[in-house]
Symmetry: C2
Subunit: 196 residues, 2 copies
DNA sequence: CATAATTCTGATAGCTACTGTCAAATGACA
DNA sequence: TGTCATTTGACAGTAGCTATCAGAATTATG
């Protein structure tokens, strides 16, 4: 049996404490003006420990664990669905489970990411990784190669839609449903060939 | 008459020397393994001078001056054209003027940008700026606001198409025309609603 | 329960990117 | 040639990040 254990619980606790204190300090004094020493002190650990949890400063805001979840949801879908529809459903299902509190956390983080260039820059690394992941999943299903131009292009477009939808949503006070609505609007607009 | 003058000529010269030596050193020893001191020494200037030309290390590869050119070409177009068609024409016209040598330089830079995460991250800052620029231009013409979801989404999609087209092209040994062909393929695919 | 093995933490030293300041050098111009 | 404006180099300092290592805390074992 793999019970949680004291060690693991403590780790998760420090992780969250670091993220929360960091977010608070960034809000209060700005990102660049906040040093890792301050964050570590606020969370009651040493700077060394901070770096063990987050390889770079940006990750204390940007890091998330959605990629494996996306894969799970996608794979548990029936084969027939069209790629675009499938991805829409995946994303919808993903944040359907979030509590109101989760959503507020996401909003704070997204706002900060798009407000601080360094964070946005770091986040693109994650987006690129997710994009490659989607490409592989989509390619596998449609019996194509993930390196094909059309496949890469498709996934890049979907990620772009998602990025616009969530950044526009974060600027508002909208609910979870508003985010879903934004995403639907964008994907529909994409499916229509992005007319203007 | 605004003749170049020795001072200005020297400045452009040092700028190019810094870029070239940097590119060479990055190729030879890798990006992270190359220090600014080395680049400066290779170009025969002090590290202080490097920072005067490039605020951050990444910019010695990433920095370009295409944005103002894009605006110029776009504004000198007739009003009637549809936004997507207009942007396609702008980009085509932009690199139509490049010499073979220019193109090779671009290819080297693009390859390096997509190979080194730090460079890719920095480049996104530029892309975001270009995206906002496009949004303003497109919005102005179509009498909309650049903050509208559809407008933002449209420009994000176009930038994504462009990114895929150029990164796929850079991986090959293709000519200037191949880049144009890639871009046409992507934009056509977008216009068709990104079917898979 | 005591001891051994494993994992986590904190302290230290060091490298490099980057900033700010100031005096010296260099080109522009009368 | 002499004066003014701009560019440059030297120096000092901050902060992000890496590597290393001894000691503390947790877990596994006899």
């Amino acid at each position: 049996m793999n019970r949680p254990g004291l060690r693991e619980r403590k780790k998760i606790e420090t992780l969250h404490r670091l993220q929360e204190e960091a977010l608070r300090l960034f809000d209060e004094q700005g990102y660049d003006e906040t040093t890792i020493e301050q964050i570590a002190a606020a969370a009651g650990v040493s700077p060394s420990t901070f770096y063990r949890y987050f390889p770079v400063k940006e990750d204390v805001v940007v890091q998330d664990e959605f990629d494996p979840l996306i894969v799970n949801v996608f794979e548990s879908q029936q084969e027939g669905t069209a790629p675009l529809e499938a991805l829409r459903a995946v994303l919808a299902a993903l944040f359907a489970e979030f509590t109101e509190e989760d959503i507020e956390r996401v909003r704070r983080r997204v706002r900060m990411i798009f407000a601080v260039p360094a964070l946005r820059a770091r986040q693109v690394g994650q987006s690129d990784a997710t994009e490659r992941l989607l490409a592989e999943m989509v390619a596998e299903r449609s019996g194509r190669s993930p390196d094909e131009l059309e496949v890469r292009h498709f996934t890049a477009l979907v990620v772009a839609s998602w990025t616009v939808a969530i950044s526009a949503w974060a600027e508002t006070e909208g609910s979870k449903d508003d985010l879903a609505a934004n995403l639907d609007k964008c994907l529909a607009h994409l499916e229509a060939g992005a007319p203007l």
